[in-house]
Symmetry: C2
Subunit: 144 residues, 2 copies
DNA sequence: CGGTATCCACTTAGATACTG
DNA sequence: CAGTATCTAAGTGGATACCG
């Protein structure tokens, strides 16, 4: 509990990590662009979008009902709604086969795939840091 | 509108991108872990958390009131709430200076910094694909 | 200054029923 | 099968007032 602040990181590693973004997008970045980016991120920053992105990333192409099974706990309404939004944003490609009964397939577009690639690091981070977060919570809760 | 599906990507690039995660975390990944990861991600997948993470990443250390100014549109309640959750999850470090009036500083922990580093790719993606998303939306809306 | 507590308007999401 | 429509319960967030 004494020097837990830096965890497994050296000062060096922290400095390097912190310099990353500054190098790519210096402070001079257009505030308007910044605002737009925040809006865009806000749109993707919801539970179901991120999970659907992950599922389609892993499974490739899925039918509506298959998606419903893979995305545990989602309601039909939210699945439709989220898929529609992702389709509108160009992340997902929806293919309708006009058979009876109808068949609809969903897969990621190249845009969706590239976002999925960016998200990969988040999933990796989550897997690697599950324990750390759990410990942090226990620690926080025990301190009252 | 004809071959817009793959955008600027070759089939090769898509295949490579899609194989990325599978290489690191093959299908044999424990479903229970997978569930935990989804829970964890769901917790971070909200607007304010992501924006605060970004702001602290860029600014380093900020006082409560400075954060409020940087995170446009957030209410005091949500700022407190989100910061408390991030602190509990071990992402931010809260330092109270017991002066009068009190002064409270927030900064990312090493855990928070590493999550920020992972998120970097998302921000970069957003900046690079603002136009694509805008176009996709216009296209979708114009098609009805 | 940096919160907490309370109230309330609004949004959101789940359940249910129905349809091409 | 893959939705849409409707209703309702629950959650979220903002405004306001007050405290250490």
């Amino acid at each position: 509990m004494a020097n837990e602040e830096n965890g497994p990181f050296t000062e060096d590693e922290i400095a390097r990590a912190q310099s990353y973004k500054v190098r790519d997008y210096p402070e001079g970045v257009d505030p308007q662009i910044d605002e737009l980016v925040k809006d865009l991120i806000s749109g993707f920053a919801d539970k179901w979008t991120m999970i659907i992105l992950d599922v389609l990333w892993e499974e490739g192409t899925l039918r509506f009902s298959e998606l419903a099974r893979h995305v545990t706990g989602i309601s039909q309404k939210m699945l439709t709604q989220t898929l529609r939004r992702m389709e509108r944003d160009g992340l997902v490609i929806r293919t309708l086969y006009p058979s009876v009964p109808p068949k609809v397939e969903y897969r990621l577009s190249s845009l969706g795939l590239s976002l999925g690639a960016a998200f990969c690091n988040i999933w990796v981070w989550a897997i690697e840091n599950l324990e750390s977060v759990r410990n942090a919570r226990e620690d926080f809760d025990s301190r009252k």
